[in-house]
Symmetry: C2
Subunit: 129 residues, 2 copies
DNA sequence: ACAAACCTACGAATATTTTCGTAAATGCAA
DNA sequence: TTGCATTTACGAAAATATTCGTAGGTTTGT
């Protein structure tokens, strides 16, 4: 699936990824904390997302229950890939540097990243033997 | 300046960042390599970008010469920040991992990233003394 | 000077996203 | 059952992005 969720759609996906299956009301209440929005606006958005295949829904209950139909990881991956291509001319490491420069990771995150790098490095050496 | 260039605008900005000041024709010829597009479409886009303040232009020459009015670094930074907030729930390191996972950096890039990380780490230790 | 080529400005059509009002259906409580 | 609250479906307005045609001006070559 070739995905390009809009900003509004992403807001909804984030809620569903975090909270799991939700009614429109559930989602709407979370959205309302951060911004003005009419209930039917949220409803319509989720209906459209359903049409697009971004969400599945269970209509058995009195209120329909929506679930994200795309994985958070895959979506993140595709958006990152798009950004590398469109904004960083294909250079993933440039993106990495920008991300690190802007938002310093804490010690724990640093460790995680370093381990990840070492694994990549080891794999690279293997290939060159 | 609060920036949110669209995909089309980003294509044009990328060209201007790489080639420096350009006429509409210059930009259009590069765009044409990768996609179908009418000349007046490119013209209109660049005019709108000029209105928005994304581009400056010199109308002295027979053909106007456009220049990006926003820095590549700053724009990249803002887009990365937006992605961290909207897609990775504020976690820069998650974005980093995704980026590294998708596009393995070569040895040189790896070195660069590791040095960067070490600098961050040292700075962090200083703070805790 | 004349025509061909090129450039800008501008309006408008098209597409997409976001928002909301209204009507119909459903569930619930008195 | 009757009325109120909630939900869905749907159409359409509003906002934004993209595309292109046409008119009018400038430059260039002959």
């Amino acid at each position: 699936m070739n995905l390009k969720p809009t900003d509004s759609e992403l807001e909804i996906l984030n809620i569903l990824w975090e909270k799991g299956p939700c009614t429109v009301r559930d989602v709407h209440e979370v959205l309302e904390k951060n911004k003005e929005a009419g209930y039917t606006t949220t409803l319509k958005l989720m209906q459209i997302m359903h049409e697009k295949g971004l969400l599945t829904r269970d209509a058995k209950a009195k209120s329909h229950i929506y679930t994200s139909n795309i994985s958070q990881e895959k979506t993140q991956g595709q958006l990152v890939k798009r950004m590398i291509d469109n904004v960083f001319n294909g250079s993933a490491s440039q993106l990495v540097m920008q991300a690190l420069g802007h938002h310093k990771p804490n010690a724990e995150e640093l460790d995680e990243i370093k381990k990840y790098l070492e694994r990549i490095e080891q794999a690279g050496k293997q290939e060159n033997q």
